[in-house]
């Protein structure tokens, strides 16, 4: 019945570690130890996954088909674990500001990652919903964790909007459930395949509300309006986490649901159009608004909206049919590149904020000369986000646009490339500020004695920067993995 429960192992490690941290917080006060424990838990989870992989468990199911351990889930497990690791390291500064709540903070991160991993690894509507709520509730708290004006505001907004989005998602799920009588995705697909024309309305209703609910998490326009506010108000490490992990998992679950449950040939043309329109909208909204920003966090928030739009191109391509495999693997590949690039960018934002206490792009002026390495990494990350060589983003975008074209969505690819051009207009601004502009006045912001980031940050910075370059130069590595990961979606 339950099958191989040890498939839950990676998540279980995280959950247990979370619980442990809650207790350990009471008597361990050193942040290094706590954060180390959390990081070790993440690594343990990765190790567990690796063991399962080595053990040939890939493709197995557990818990009556609620949990599935396939390459797809595995891909996201590694991706999310990486993001979590970086987030924990990035929280180094945050941890010092919350001496009384470190355990809770780290535990919530772990819980959130657990939820995200489950999101990618479950084939059951109820499982999806509960996992989503697990991660969401943790995130609401994390966003407001500093309890300052902006953080609490961001947290409350996130929660209220998240609750509305959950309700919408649930309404969609309810309709789907009512139609098919099952919570299991493949069973839903089977039920849809056997159904008649009369169910089209309810199915569409369900699909649209599902898109809205998941699109909210993935920061897709027009469900994106929380994004800039929440990213700006949240602790920067959490914003980074939201921008990569949450988004990646949301896309994972979108792919799962729309591939495994709603992948019916007759319907997918409709989904494709919806996704394509949302993709275009997201790219335009994100890019056009990002140009207006003077706060780098907020700029990155809008940029993440635009990036979500780019990923949606892949989804539209999947649904368009011809490029199924390509589209899905394109999304995965792009997400990998986006994750490292965006994390690198956020890490620099964290370090710079730590040093000069500002998120204003204008205050980055002169950074290129004072801290060439930091500035260089940020520039590299932004170049990658723009989609220029020799970085991860370049091949990611290439791959996704190729997907669109192979699926006959050339117009979407055109919109994508036009938006790439628009996005260059704002990604270039921090680069210009750092390398070209003269500092407005030496005393505008205090110059720190040292630009050296704290060790965990330095390490993760190096890792992400290397990731941007490696994926950019040897994209084959990730593409192969991504292809294998989406291979399971075809049956």
């Amino acid at each position: 019945m339950l099958g191989e429960t040890n498939l839950l192992g990676p998540q279980l490690v995280l959950m247990c570690a979370g619980a442990f941290l809650l207790i350990a917080d009471l008597f361990i006060k050193r942040r290094g130890l706590l954060a180390g424990t959390a990081a070790a838990a993440v690594l343990g989870s990765v190790a567990y996954s690796a063991i399962l992989l080595a053990d040939g468990k890939v493709g197995r199911e557990a818990f009556d088909g609620v949990l599935v351990f396939d390459h797809f889930a595995l891909f996201f497990q590694f991706l999310l674990a990486g993001a979590a690791l970086v987030t924990i390291a990035a929280s180094w500064e945050t941890l010092s500001r919350i001496p009384s709540r470190r355990g809770e903070y780290l535990a919530l991160i772990l819980f959130s990652v657990t939820g995200l991993m489950l999101l990618a690894g479950t084939r059951d509507l109820i499982g999806i919903f509960v996992a989503l709520e697990l991660t969401s509730l943790s995130q609401y708290v994390l966003v407001g964790f500093h309890k300052d004006r902006l953080g609490s505001e961001a947290g409350l907004k996130y929660l209220l909007l998240g609750a509305v989005a959950s309700a919408v998602l649930l309404y969609g799920m309810a309709m789907l459930l009512g139609l098919t009588g099952s919570t299991n995705l493949p069973e839903i697909a089977a039920a849809i395949a056997g159904s008649g024309d009369g169910q089209f309305e309810a199915l569409t209703f369900a699909a649209v509300f599902l898109i809205a609910g998941f699109g909210f998490k993935a920061a897709v326009a027009p469900f994106q309006m929380w994004v800039p506010d929440v990213y700006t108000g949240a602790p920067t490490a959490i914003a980074a986490f939201l921008s990569v992990a949450s988004k990646a998992a949301a896309f994972a679950v979108l792919i799962r649901v729309f591939f495994e449950a709603l992948g019916d040939d007759l319907l997918s043309a409709d989904w494709s159009t919806i996704f394509a329109i949302l993709a275009a909208l997201s790219m335009f909204v994100g890019n056009v608004l990002a140009i207006q920003q003077s706060n780098i966090k907020r700029m990155l928030a809008y940029s993440s909206v635009a990036q979500a739009g780019t990923v949606l191109i892949g989804l539209a391509a999947i649904s368009a049919g011809r490029g199924e495999l390509l589209g899905a693997s394109g999304i995965l590949f792009y997400l990998a590149g986006y994750t490292v690039s965006n994390l690198a960018a956020f890490l620099i934002v964290i370090v710079v904020h730590e040093k000069i206490g500002s998120f204003q792009i204008d205050d980055y002026r002169g950074l290129g000369r004072r801290a060439p390495l930091l500035a260089g990494v940020l520039a590299l990350a932004l170049i990658s986000l723009t989609g220029l060589p020799p970085t991860a983003g370049f091949f990611g975008k290439l791959y996704l646009f190729d997907t669109a074209i192979q699926s006959g969505l050339a117009w979407l690819a055109v919109i994508g490339v036009v938006n790439t051009a628009i996005s260059a207009a704002y990604y270039i601004r921090p680069i210009k500020a750092m390398f070209i502009d003269e500092p407005a006045g030496e005393l505008a912001r205090p110059i720190p004695s040292s630009w050296l980031p704290s060790p965990p940050l330095a390490a993760t910075l190096a890792l992400t920067a290397a990731g941007v370059l490696v994926i950019g130069l040897v994209p084959g590595l990730i593409i192969d993995v991504a292809e294998e990961a989406v291979g399971v979606l075809l049956f």
Binding site: V164, F200, T204, V208, F209, I211, P222, M225, L289
Partner: protein, 641 residues
């Protein structure tokens, strides 16, 4: 190969000045004396070889020596060749160019002595001579065009030699651009003939292409257009109406330059070009008529202008235009041999006149004839040679100019009486203005010349003196040529040389028409007498005559050069083109073309500025957007399904 002249030897004529140019540019920049001597030496050898070539060609009856051509490069169908063509016409031109050039270079050793740019001067002179020789030697139109442009460039540098004078710099620019306008025609002709006939070879164009047109295989219109293109090039280069405006300004260059480039050789290239393609011209009646009337208008118009000039070089410049026009209409009416003959004699006497004028200015620092006067006493050699040149120009028997001019007039009498009348009129005017120039320069009281501009090298005008021997010897040699060069016409000798260059056989004979002789001589005598009365005896006083209401408007018209410069430069170029069209285009570029680009960028920015207010920070707005998005999508799908 059993050729009368080795091909390498012919190339030597061209490469000697080329070598001289490169050697001076690279190594002799700081050593003026060596630069001058090197140039003189190189051109001297070139002259010797040229004379040898001429003699050999004469031995062949003036027919082309069959050198094979060499491929320079190819691009698809286009095969660009480099080859030398040596025939009667070429050989004569070679001798004339290298001969005049040699004498001018020798003269320049004295004239340019002490000038800061002495080496540069000789470099460009070598460059010019090389290009001119190359132009003559070219066996295909493209190569001809190459050298055609190069002589233009050389002319630019030599006119602008004293680049510190704004007038010189401007004149150089004007000369290049105006001639280039004509060159466009030549270029178009080149493109047209290659496109339609598939060849650029001069011999092929003159024979096969003309034949094919005759057979109707190729269109007559094409041929006419081609000929008109050539004519355009010739009009620009030979400063014919309406592109004549550059040549008087070009007198800003050093006088030896004017003598060589702007009277004897380069400006004659236009005539040479038309002579070269005489069979084409011959086959197109329209083009011939066109050239004839352009020549007639220019011949008379320029001669009239020469009457009203006070600058001796400008008098000579307009005279050059007028004389070139003579050759043009001669070609137009089919007087090929006469035109080339006049080209040769003109080269000698006109360069003589220029060098004489230079000699005069060498003593007085000015070319303004109203500041000279009475120089015959202090500069006897200059005076005598100048008078010889002037008489030759005026067509006084038995000087060279007489024979060539007379031959043209005889041909005109034969073919076209209207042209003959105008030709005669121009001849009369020539005598008038030359006598006037002699009178103002060498007779009367000395008016004191002009002090050299501060910081410039110049003579002491208070005590004018005869030029050094290095300058007078070339004058004397040229005077000899100005007298004797015409005698080669006796027995149709010269005509047989140049007619041999034509594909069809022509009868070469010495032309004589006593009526024409008497008419032209009488007219010249009357004109000369009038000039003597006016300017040497000063009765009536020319100044009062100018003020006479009947003459004044005419004089003003001539003084203002028919307002051609005003029309061309001020109105057309400055106002209409630069101030109108170009300004409008520039404004359009900045406001519209760039405006659209910047507008698109700004539009995106403004759109963002407006859109950001939708993100008003109010949580429920976001929720509403989410729901609205969902409902609208659902509605759209249901409706459009």
């Amino acid at each position: 190969m059993n050729q009368p002249v080795a091909e390498g030897l012919v190339w030597l004529i061209f490469f000697l000045p080329v070598a001289s140019f490169f050697l001076i540019t690279l190594f002799l920049r700081g050593r003026p004396r060596e630069a001058g001597l090197l140039t003189v030496g190189a051109i001297g050898v070139a002259l010797v070889v040229s004379v040898y070539a001429l003699v050999q060609v004469i031995g062949e009856g003036g027919h082309a020596v069959g050198f094979s051509t060499h491929e320079l490069f190819s691009a698809g169908d286009l095969i660009v060749n480099v080859g030398a063509r040596l025939d009667g016409l070429t050989a004569v031109m070679l001798v004339v160019v290298s001969g005049v050039s040699l004498l001018v270079q020798v003269y320049s050793l004295g004239y340019m002595h002490g000038d800061g740019g002495f080496a540069r001067y000789y470099a460009f002179m070598s460059f010019f001579t090389a290009a001119m020789l190359g132009l003559i030697l070219a066996d295909n139109l493209l190569m001809l065009f190459v050298f055609w442009e190069l002589v233009g460039a050389a002319s630019y540098f030599l006119i602008g030699f004293w680049f510190h004078r704004p007038a010189a710099a401007a004149a150089a620019k004007k000369a290049f651009i105006v001639t280039r306008l004509g060159d466009l025609g030549l270029l178009a002709a080149l493109i047209l003939i290659w496109d339609r006939a598939g060849t650029l070879d001069i011999a092929a164009i003159n024979t096969e292409v003309v034949e094919l047109v005759g057979l109707g295989v190729l269109g007559q219109t094409m041929l006419t257009l081609f000929a008109l293109g050539l004519a355009a090039g010739a009009i620009g280069k030979s400063a014919q109406f309406p592109l004549h405006i550059w040549l008087p300004d070009a007198m800003e260059g050093p006088t030896p330059v004017s003598a060589l480039v702007h009277s004897a050789t380069m400006v004659a290239a236009g005539v040479y070009l038309l002579a070269r393609f005489f069979p084409v011209l011959d086959a197109s009646q329209f083009a011939s008529d066109f050239i004839t009337w352009i020549g007639v208008i220019t011949a008379v118009g320029a001669a009239l202008l020469a009457v009203a000039q006070t600058d001796i070089k400008r008098v000579l410049a307009y005279s050059t235009i007028s004389q070139l026009a003579y050759m043009m209409f001669a070609l137009g009416i089919g007087a090929y041999a006469a035109a080339v003959f006049h080209l040769m004699t003109h080269a000698f006497f006109k360069s003589l006149l220029f060098l004489g004028a230079g000699s005069a200015s060498h003593a007085t620092n000015t070319f303004d004839m109203t500041r000279m006067g009475g120089l015959r006493r202090v500069m006897p050699i200059t005076y005598i040679t100048f008078v010889i040149g002037a008489l030759s120009l005026a067509g006084v028997i038995p000087l060279a100019g007489f024979w060539s001019k007379d031959e043209i007039l005889i041909d005109a009498w034969k073919y076209n009486r209207a042209v003959f009348v105008f030709g005669l009129l121009a001849a009369g005017l020539t005598a008038f203005y030359m006598v006037r120039a002699i009178a103002l320069t060498f007779h009367g009281e000395y008016k004191g010349g002009e002090e050299p501009a501060p910081g410039e090298h110049g003579a002491d005008p208070a005590h004018p003196h005869e030029a050094p021997r290095v300058m007078t010897i070339p004058l004397c040699l040229l005077a000899v040529l100005a007298v004797a060069a015409g005698w080669v016409t006796f027995g149709g000798e010269f005509q047989s040389w140049v007619l041999g260059a034509l594909p069809e056989a022509h009868e070469a004979k010495f032309l004589w028409n006593t009526g024409v002789f008497i008419g032209s001589t009488l007219l010249a005598a009357v004109a000369a007498a009038a000039a003597i009365a006016l300017y040497i005896r000063r009765d009536p006083d020319p100044a009062r005559l100018r003020a006479h209401p009947a003459v004044a408007p005419l004089h003003r018209l001539l003084e203002r050069k028919y307002y051609a410069d005003v029309l061309a430069e001020d109105l057309l170029v400055r106002r209409v083109f630069y101030g109108g069209l170009a300004k409008a285009a520039h404004t359009f570029d900045a406001l519209v073309v760039d405006g659209v680009v910047n507008g698109a960028a700004r539009g995106t920015f403004v759109a963002g500025w407006f859109a950001k207010f939708a993100q008003n920070g109010q949580a429920q707005t976001a929720a509403a957007a989410l729901l609205a998005g969902g409902v609208i999508i659902f509605g759209a799908v249901v409706i459009f399904q």
